[in-house]
Structures are given as C-alpha cells and as structure tokens.
Symmetry: C2
Subunit: 749 residues, 2 copies
C-alpha cells in the first residue's frame, strides 16, 4: 500500500524522482552533468526539458500560442549552439544548466535593467521586483525576463516561474579548456614561461571572464528554449513570434494619455479633457482612480458614489469627446465590507497585502471572479469608453508583497505567484476585452517572459532620466513595452525634455496622480510640449506600422542599436546559420555600439537620441549607413559619432537613408477613429530610393486577426533628371485603407 502510494506520487511529481536518482547515485559526491536532449518545437525553436518542469511556468502563465506560420517564414536555421557543450546537472532539488560563452560573444537581455545593456561579467537574480539601482546583484526588475540574446545569433529562454540565478561569463571553471592567465597582482605581470626571462606586463582584474553562462533554478526542473538566428534580431523575432507575436494596440493607444490626481472627481475628469482641447494638446486617453482604492490600498473595484455618482454618464460623455478612460487598479481585494471580498475569500492566499486579499490568480475560479466583477461594474457601463487599465503593484519590494512563506490554495508557491502575478492579471483583462472584440492598451508594473502579445506598457516610480532611457532600450531585448513617466517638474526645461522622451516611447503619457501640475503649468515650456505631442500624433501611421511589424514579424518596437547591424545582415543573409568562429562574427555590434544605452531605433527608420533635461548637447553614435536630420533632411553622418545641440522644441531624431515616414497631415488632436479618412503625408529622406509596404486596419477591433487588413506599397524614386516622385498602391485583395490620398514630401535641406 505504501509502495503503491509512493509510485503514484513519484509519477506525479518530478521532484521526488530527481531526488531519488540523486540518492541512488550517492548524495555526498558532486553531481554529474549530462547533455540535455533538444527537440525542435517550432521552426528554428528548440526545447529541452531539464529535470521535471513544473506545471506553472512563465509561458504557461502567459498562455502563449506560438505564431507558427509566421515563424516558418523566417530563414531556415540549424541548432545554433554546440549541444555537447551544454550541460545540465541535478543538485539535489535544484537544477543547474551551463551554456558555452565564446570569448567574442556579447550577451544582451535578461530583463529590463535600468543601468546596463551588455550583460557579460554580471550575475543576476531574476525576481519580479521594483527596480533598485544599488542592488548588489542585478536582475530584480519589473520585467526580469529570463531570455538572453547572444551576439552570435541566437537567444535562450529559461522558462521557470522560480527565482533564477544567472551568471554570465563569471566564475572560471577549473575544468575550462582555456583559463585566463595568472597575473601577479602586485607587479601586474605574467610569469614568463622560461625561468629567468622578464615577466610580461598584464592588467590585473578582479573578476575574470569565464567560458560559460550558468543558471541555477531552485526547482525540480524547467524547460529551456533556444531560438536560432541567423542574426540576433532574428532570434529575438523568433522569441516574440513563439509568444504569439508582439501586441498591436488600438490606434487611440498611440495617442496621448494623461492621468488625474488620486482624488479627482467626474467633474475634474471632464475639466481636464476640456483644458487639453483649449491648450491645443492632443488627448486620447484619460487615467483616473474610480475611488475604489479608498479603503486601505487594495481595491473594492466599486466606483465611489461621491466622486463618481454616474459612471455610465461620465463614460458616455468621454466617448462623445473621443477620449478613452484608463482605470487605475491593483489586484488585491479589500476592504472586507466590499462586494468582491467575500467572493474572493475562498481563493485568497495566506497573507494580506495592505490588509487586502491576495487572490490566487493561478486558479481559474479566481480569474473568473475578477473578470466577472470587472464586466459587471466596469465594462458593461459603456461599449467603448473604458479603453484599459493601469495594473499597479504586481511587482514590488519584498516588504510590499506577500512573504515567501505565504501559501496559496492552488498549492503554488509564493515565489511562483510573484513571478507570474502580472502575467496572470494582464491575461484576465486581455481576455475580457477580446470577448468584446475591442482592443485595449494599458499599463502594468510587473510582467515577465511570454508577455510579447500583451498590450500593456510597463512603468515605475523611478524618475532618473538616463535610467529611464536605458530601460526603454532593454525593453527591446525582452519582448515587453516600457515607457518613462512624466510626473511634473518645477523646471520647465526638465518637463519639456521628459515629455519629448515619452512621446518617442511606446506609450506617451503624463502621470499627474500626485501632482497639481499640468502640461500647461510652465508657459515657457508649452510650445515645445505641444510640438512634442503633435509630433507623436503626426507619427501615428509610422508607429502603428511599427507595432504591426512587432505583431506580425516579431520585430521589437524599440530596437536596441546592438541588434540593428545584425538585422541589416539578415536581409542580405542567405538563410541558415553562418559559420561563426572565435574571431569573426558578422552579427557582432560595432565596438562603439556595444554599450550604447541612451539611443535606440524606434521602428525601422527613426534613430532616437534624447537629450537629458540637464544637457544642452550630446554625442550621437550613428550606425553604419547614412543618417539624416529629421527636421531638415540634412545629412547628419554615416557610421560616426556627431555632437548635436538642438533647439529646445526639437529632438535629436535621425532618419535612415531611403526611409519613408508615413505621417498624419495637419495637427491632429487625437488618433483617427474607424471610418475617418485623415490625410496622409509621406516623408522621404536621403538619397536611396524608398520602399515600404505599409500596414493598416480598423485600428480598434480584432478584425485584423480575421484578415481584415490593408497593405499599401509605397515607393519613392528619383527620375533620371534628379526629381523625386512617389507612388502608393494598395495591394490587391487587401482592405480598409484608413487614409485619404497621400501627399509626398522629399525632405532635403
């Protein structure tokens, strides 16, 4: 009887089997390594199950559905690593994995860090957490996506919902084939091979580079995925497509979002919309707190009847004004006298957050309870006016969340809930909007791997400009979206620079929840702020196309410069993985770009090099190829570093040679709605002819998934007489071109 129980149990939970095998092999000696077995699970995507993977992983929490057709359109590729050099080792109840790291290999990714982009030589503790710049070990961030991208043209994902410790090129192994030389720390020399000859000068460094990436998962097992290239960008694309492709927001989501102070009323909301219009500032979304966080900090998810006596009336009025509401909430439930508390109680974990319940959202019943309540209290009030949510507090320092000793009714562990909480909540919300055939675009403070297809943009409470931009760059490596915040400033220049930054990020917003300041508080900054917001709206067709590339091709919206050279190589590439050796790598970023963390490409053609609030000028590293000034069309340079001192109301923005930038004409105050046909402008830059197959759809529903899209071939060509002309021809059989006839501009000085 006991044996039978044992056998059933072993079959059910892998941890025991592992442990027993460790025991049988002698627990008191060092565990042996084996090479994992790889299985191709999608074109160019391999999986190995290490130990006994758990049911709750990052990808399972996100519910990813690979875009297999799109994956198949990428170049064929062989397994990109030397499988004999990949080792897995069972260490009692933990699983250790070693992957080879070449001497000339640069590693990017491993989560949305705010301080560095190149990861070699660092050790990460990947936890969902509020980011802290001074953490002794990096990796605690709002999006600790355990995906790394190698400059040798592949990516690797560790799909575990446990905390992971990842060491990138740190810790030289005794068994390493090639070890760093032994340098005399006192004399800074290497001992000569021949005694009696002079010592060889050499620098001494404390942390020597190793030949491995090593991962320790505190778990009975996990799945590891390898994404082939040939280029690093291709590998990232495969990851995004394996997660279903990137998100495609509604068009209005690419407009401007403003958020009101915490205690704002319905009247305040309408007054703010009116003030935006009065000041000639675009506005598509308005963020508010329905008063449901009032009792303590968790949410009752009930509108406060004093501040919002008629929520449906308010939403109807916002809809009439062409503005979507974005509702601020967090997923903890309180107070006890609220409607939802008792219904959620059976699904709550053992500990409270701010006196509120912590629902176990790994339980379908908990998700259904939340979804049903939101449907009844929010979404049924108006068919369109609630555009999305701001999902707060799904990350957080340890002291704000449940302790790791907390238990949950599903039996999942506190650590697993922490790593997946943001994913689970995003999924609940997204499914509700999908059921209504309405797209959403929201914000979230904590997310993880598998989130590529979630239309949520990460934010946080940081306010350091440089760190913000580095996080924007890193979001591009992680299959997530991240935008800085503007929360006001006493300095007009600071306010303007910050607004410029958010207008060139995935979500353009002003977060006024804690500030009496408005965008018009500083009259001297207002013209520049207005210009930045209008530019954002003008660029909407370009941005929307960029998001379509994210969705359909897996190309990130924010493209780190470290991937751009490689991406270019893809186009020219013959398909298949090129042979890389220790000295040459066609996909390696140029030295000047390896550590660049304050510039990025927004889409195919725009190079963004924002000016920090306290800087009058800055260096800009221009990648290979010619780059042109966005405003004047003047040649800025080619594969060089320039110094720029732009006027206050302009941005250091450069355009790739031959690019076509589709823009809205005029000075639109909001994104176009379904059925509207705004005028398009097509701006061509440089000397190369331009070609762009521009994406479009209805911009609001999921009809694009049912094929209701349009493609238009744009071409800019120069006649033999030197004059430029352009054409726009909608691809036969495609639909819904939402613009009136385009007008061409050839931007030259």
């Amino acid at each position: 009887m006991h044996i039978v129980l044992l056998n059933r149990a072993v079959a059910r939970l892998g941890a025991a089997a592992l442990l027993l095998s460790a025991l049988a092999s002698g627990a008191q000696s060092a565990p042996q390594a084996v090479n994992p077995s790889w299985q191709q699970v999608a074109p160019g995507v391999w999986k190995a199950s290490l130990g006994q993977p758990e049911d709750l992983s990052l990808l399972s929490a996100a519910g990813v559905q690979p875009a297999l057709t799109r994956l198949a359109s990428l170049p064929a590729a062989a397994f990109p690593l030397d499988a004999a050099e990949i080792e897995v080792r069972q260490m009692d109840w933990k699983v250790a994995l070693r992957l080879p790291l070449a001497a000339n290999e640069d590693i990017y990714g491993l989560g949305v860090d705010f301080s560095t982009v190149r990861r070699n030589g660092q050790i990460f503790e990947l936890h969902v957490d509020h980011w802290n710049r001074r953490a002794p070990t990096p990796g605690r961030t709002h999006a600790p996506v355990p995906l790394y991208i190698s400059s040798r043209g592949f990516a690797v994902l560790f799909d575990s919902a446990r905390y992971l410790k990842v060491s990138v090129g740190h810790g030289v192994r005794l068994a390493a084939k090639q070890k760093p030389p032994v340098v005399d720390r006192t004399t800074r020399t290497i001992r000569p091979a021949t005694p009696g000859t002079a010592p060889i000068p050499a620098p001494w460094i404390s942390a020597l580079p190793s030949d491995s990436i090593e991962v320790l998962a505190n778990a009975p097992g996990f799945d590891v995925y390898v994404f082939a290239g040939p280029s690093p960008m291709d590998a990232l694309r495969r990851y995004n497509l394996f997660c279903g492709g990137g998100s495609l927001p509604p068009k209005w989501g690419l407009g401007f979002l403003t958020r009101l102070p915490t205690k704002a009323t319905a009247a305040d909301v309408l007054a703010d919309v009116a003030a935006f219009r009065e000041h000639g500032l675009p506005l598509d979304m308005i963020g508010l707190e329905p008063g449901w966080m009032s009792h303590a900090y968790p949410c009752s998810l009930e509108w406060d009847p004093t501040r919002f006596p008629d929520p449906a009336g308010l939403l109807g009025e916002l809809d009439r004004l062409g503005v979507r509401a974005n509702l601020w909430f967090n997923p903890y439930i309180g107070p006890p006298h609220g409607k939802l508390y008792g219904r959620m109680l059976p699904f709550a974990g053992s500990h409270l957050v701010w006196n509120g319940l912590v629902p176990d959202y790994t339980l379908p019943e908990a998700r259904a309870t939340l979804a049903g309540h939101l449907r009844d209290e929010v979404l049924r009030l108006h068919p369109r006016a609630v555009g999305g949510f701001k999902v707060d507090e799904v990350d957080g320092y340890d002291r704000y969340l449940w302790p790791e000793t907390a238990t949950f009714p599903s039996g999942h562990h506190a650590e697993q809930l922490r790593q997946t909480y943001g994913l689970l909540v995003q999924r609940v919300l997204l499914e509700e909007f999908r059921a209504l055939d309405r797209r959403t675009f929201g914000q979230v403070r904590g997310t993880n791997a598998g989130a590529s297809s979630f239309p949520f943009v990460i934010y946080n409470d940081n306010y350091d400009f440089g760190e913000y931009i580095t996080a924007v760059v890193n979001s591009g490596f992680a299959g997530v979206l991240w935008s800085p915040e503007v929360r006001g400033s006493d300095n007009p220049e600071d306010m303007l620079r910050r607004i410029q930054a958010v207008c060139l990020s995935p979500l353009a917003l002003y977060n006024g929840w804690a500030s009496p300041q408005k965008l018009w508080t500083h009259p001297s900054a207002l013209p520049g702020i207005r210009a930045a917001l209008r530019l954002r709206l003008q660029l909407l067709p370009y941005l929307y196309h960029t998001f379509a590339q994210y969705h359909l091709d897996g190309l990130p919206v924010i493209r780190p410069l470290q991937l751009v050279t490689s991406a270019a190589a893809t186009t020219a590439g013959p398909g298949g993985q090129p042979a890389l050796d220790a000295t040459t790598n066609p996909y390696e970023a140029p030295a000047a770009l390896k550590e660049i963390k304050d510039q990025y490409l927004l889409g195919d053609s725009l190079l963004v090099a924002l000016l920090a609030p306290d800087a009058a000028s800055r260096p800009v590293v221009l990648p290979p190829g010619r780059w042109y000034d966005f405003y004047t069309g003047r040649l800025a340079g080619e594969d060089t570093t320039i110094y720029v001192t732009p006027p206050a109301d302009q941005l250091p923005l450069f355009v790739r040679d031959g690019a076509i930038i589709p823009r809205l004409a005029g000075e639109p105050l909001r994104a176009p709605r379904t059925g509207e046909l705004p005028r398009l402008e097509l701006w061509h830059y440089g000397e190369k002819p331009g070609a762009l197959r521009l994406y479009d759809d209805d911009g609001e529903t999921f009809a694009y998934e049912r094929g209701n899209v349009s493609w238009t071939d744009l071409r800019a060509e120069r006649s033999p007489d030197g004059t430029w002309h352009g054409t726009a021809i909608t691809v036969a059989g495609t639909q819904t071109w939402s613009y009136s006839d385009p007008r061409w501009f050839f931007i030259t000085p």
Copy 2:
C-alpha cells in the same frame, strides 16, 4: 532491489522523506502547519529539528562545544514562547517556520548590519556577503548570524548553512487573530463601526506590522534553538555559552595592531616598529603580507624570498622587540606552480576564485592540508612571533566568489560552503594555535553563527564612520567581534576620530596596506592619537576582564544599550521567566534607547559615545542610573539625554555609578607579558560603593582552561567620615596575579 535501495536512501537523506510525505498528502494544496517538538538540550536551551536537518550546519561547521557547567549557573527558566503558536510547514523541498511576535516586542540581532539595530518590519536575506548599504533586502553581511533576540527575554537561532529569508513582523496573515485596522489611504481615516457616524482619523502606512516572525529555509530541514532569559541579555549569554563561551584573546591582542603596505619588505617591517617606539606609540602586533599573494590574488602560502629572505630571522627580531606578526592571507590556493596547489587540487571545487583553487574545507583532508602547510611554512619558524592571521575574502559580493552552480568534492553545495567558509578557516587556524598552547587573535572578513569562541575580529572595506559604529553595536547581538578600520585620511581631525573609535572597539588597529600614511603623518593629530592608543593600553586590565566575562559568562564585550536595562533586571530578578503580557515587559528597552545605534557599553561600566569626524558635539543618551565623566568624575546625568562638546583629544566616555575601572599605571607601550608585574591603578567613580571580582591569568596560553586563573576581590567603600578607601584581596586558591600592588583613585571633580 530498487525498493531496498530506495528505502536505504530515504533513511539516509531526509529530503526525500519529506518530499514523499508532501506528495502523499497531495502536492497541489497548501501544505499544513504543525507545531515542532522541543527538547531541552542544555539548561535554558531548547532545540527542535524541523524536517530533516543537514549534516553541515553553522554550529557543526564551527564545531561548537557548549559550556554546560556555565549554562547551568544561569537562572532556571521555562520555555519562553507559546509553543502552540510556533508552526513549521513543509513547502515541497523548503521548510517554513513561523514564530509569534507580540505587538510590544522588539527584535534585535539577525546579523551584523550597518544601518539599523531594531529589526521589526524588515525582511532579511541572510547571506555571507560584503555588506552593501543599498541592498533592497538587508541581511547580506560579513556575519549574517541567524540569531534574533527578543525584548521579551529570549533568543532564537536558525541553524542552517543555507540562505535564509527571515521576515520580522512583515506580512499580515489572513488567519491572524488581530489584524491592523483598514485605513482609508485617501482620507486617512478608519470607517466607523456605526454607519452615519464620522470616520476616525488614523495614519496610513504601507507596511503593516504582523504578529509573526517567518523564516523560509531552502533546505530539507534545520535545527532551531530557543534560548531562554529571563532577560534578553541572559538569552544572548545562553547563546554565547552554548557556543562554548566567548573568545579570550591573549593580552597582547588587546594592544595596538598596525598593518604595512602590500609590498612591504622585512626591513620595512622593522623600520615601522622602530618608528612606533620613536613616536611614543604603543604597538603589540604588526600586520604584513609575506608576498604569498603575489601570483594573482590567491595564496601560494610561501614567503617571497626577495622581500622576506629570512622569515625566521625577522620573526625572531620581532619577538625580541615584543611585537607579534599578523599575516594576511586568503584561503584560495594559487598559482599552479606553487607547492600547495597540487596537494590541494584533489579537494578543490569546480570553479576558481581569481584563478585560484577553492578548497572544500568541509573535507577534513583539505583542512589538514592547509594546516600542515601553515605549520611547516609559518608556525614552525618561531615559537611565539606569529600571533595570528588576517583571513581575507571568505565573504564577498557574488562576483568575487564561486557561482552557486559550483560543485564541491564533499557533495556540499556552493551555498553551504559560502555560509560556512569563514567558520571553517577560523577553526583550522585556531586548532593549530591550540595545539601549540598559544592563544591567537586575528581578523576575519566573513563568519557566522557558532563563532562566539573564535578569537577573530571582523573587518571590511567600508569607511563610513556612522555605519562602522552601528556594526560595532550589532556585533554585540551576534556573538562576534567587529572593529572599524583606520586606513588613513587627509584630514587630521578625521584620522584622530577614527583612531579614537578603534581604540574603544575589540581590536585597535591601523590598516596601512594601501596607504603611505602613518599615525604620525599629521603632526597636529599625533598628541590626540597618542592619547587614544595609550588609553587603550591603560584600559587593558578592564578590557581583559571584559573578555573574560565574554568567555565565562557569555556577556558580550560590546553591549548594546537595548540589552543593558534588561541585564540590570537580571541581577534583581527572582530567576525563572517573569510573566509578560501585551502591555508590560520589564526587559523592554526605554523608548529613547530602542533605536540607539551610535553608543554602546564596552564591558560593564564604560559608556562609549564616539564623536564622528565631522561633528564637534553630539547628544548622548544616558541610560537609567547615574553616569560620570570618565576624565573628571563629574556627574554627567541620569536617564537623560545630554549634549557634549569634548576637547579633540578626549572621548565622550562615561562611567557607571560605583564602577571600578582597573587600569595599567603609567604610559605602557605594549601589553604586559607573562611574568611581568606592572603596576595597577583602580579608578572608582560616583557615589555608590564599588565591587569587582577581577579576572586574571597568564595572558598567553590555554592554561586558563586548566584552572590556572586568579580572581581578586576589589572593593571601594566610603567611611562614615566621607573618605573613600579600597581593598584588593585575591580569592583564596586562585593563582597568577600579574600585577604589582594596586593604587586606588577615587575620581571626583
């Protein structure tokens, strides 16, 4: 056959059994809690084995041998907690423990932190690490001793060599009998019980206090120990005595230590000793690097023949000068061409540190190899002159140590090695000195629980004065010794204040390894520095007695003020645990002392309130009882806060009413040696009569363990005519009084 193997394995390693029981009970529901079983293992000390404890724990690594006779002399005490409120829960391969925390309970301890002393509301990750003030979660320190001391008069030790996560009063449980009120975050009020009545104003706080201390061990089990009081100080004493009692250094260890620059030669060593004598500065120890770190950073543990051509000669000369050598080393072995490398190779872990071997010192063979080499290369050179070692790099940021994926030949895990490495190396060294019947006093950078009896003082690379002093205070809660460092300063005032601080800490030292500066670099500071060093030497009998109390009674050398009130209560107490309720606790520190982290008692009677380098004055909180100025005998105050502005060459130092401070007469330049009979001075302060049974022994060997000690009863009394007189009577049957007849001083203004 398979079943037999399985059963043997289960019997051998507890993890499997635990896991199987978890499986049998249904792995997918929240695990149930049980109350651990307690067993009294020494007077007032209880142990519970949670899950299946591992063979390598902190106490087993330290090899503690409880001082049972001494423990029996403490007051009888009942189990100090409500055992029904202590819960252990198996969470797959982890073990969670919950202990109750009362609303009026203050928690101290949990390692040598540099920022706070009271621990309520914090979450700790206890790792051996170089301390980092900005770590998002505290607990990574040079001594992450998992011992907490409760103001309710008990202490608890989690004896695991794994990383521990400890949450102190954080994370309110849904099941808690009393939860904090639900406060409206927006209006800062509590909802009235009766609808229609006014809300009650209340502060909103983000981290609500809980009723628990919760611990998560990533281990199949561990032993937990409870130490009874009745007072918190008694509980700490029981811990120290359970670890064998505190260390008793040789008398010369309480003199002054100076350390030379890295590349110093034998000639430099002798020149520095001569310079100390010339400048009238006491010196007992000189620190040097024998040149054995030269090849890379690990140690060959061979003297460099160019810098030290005649080590035995140098040591003989140092002995003649009355100075002990302190040799700087780290426990990693390199370079490969050294003598020790090949011998240590079979015992090395899978990864290198600075290209050096990381011996698995949990293996007796590895310890014996190190010990044998040190015996041959160092200790045999001279019978006395090597006094100790500076054990470097046994802590360190992750990037300086082996990764957690490293394996070791014993089968112990990287994490376990990290938590115990300092303990293991200290033990090797201590055993070698013990075999020679010579005491040692050294330095170590990383240690842990069980270290009370190790004569090693922790140091680090920090240089923040306030943080240094907080660490000194916290060392008193942790059964370890810690001293700040002085490494030079361009500011004479800064240099002087730092020297004053080290002279009132466990080890008085100047660490000149990286600086050309000397104690006489700033002529203006030299008189004050000389006064501080001389005061250190004058206080040697008092300090030595204080260390004897540490050894024999478990009383820490550094006594945090939070424990002092309680200690006083012990004396008056009836024995046994007093009844504590939610409102009264005779051992609770007064409010003004709860957070004091910049003052401490050095021994029974000296209150140290150091002046920071940049401060001309400071507040001093005087505990209950009268306190007198150390220099003038003037009454400073009683249970109050005073502000002091001392002259540059004096210290804010206060003496307890009735105290007798035994001092060396004159201005000694080194500690007395065996057989010398220096003159003693006995300084009495205040209005109460004084009584002190003064400890003494030979000061150099372990003869004190064989009963070769002396006790002298000192009494200071006032005659009816108001004149004071003192007596000193050696207790019959005790030996080795090392002083000539004492002279009494009654210190009054």
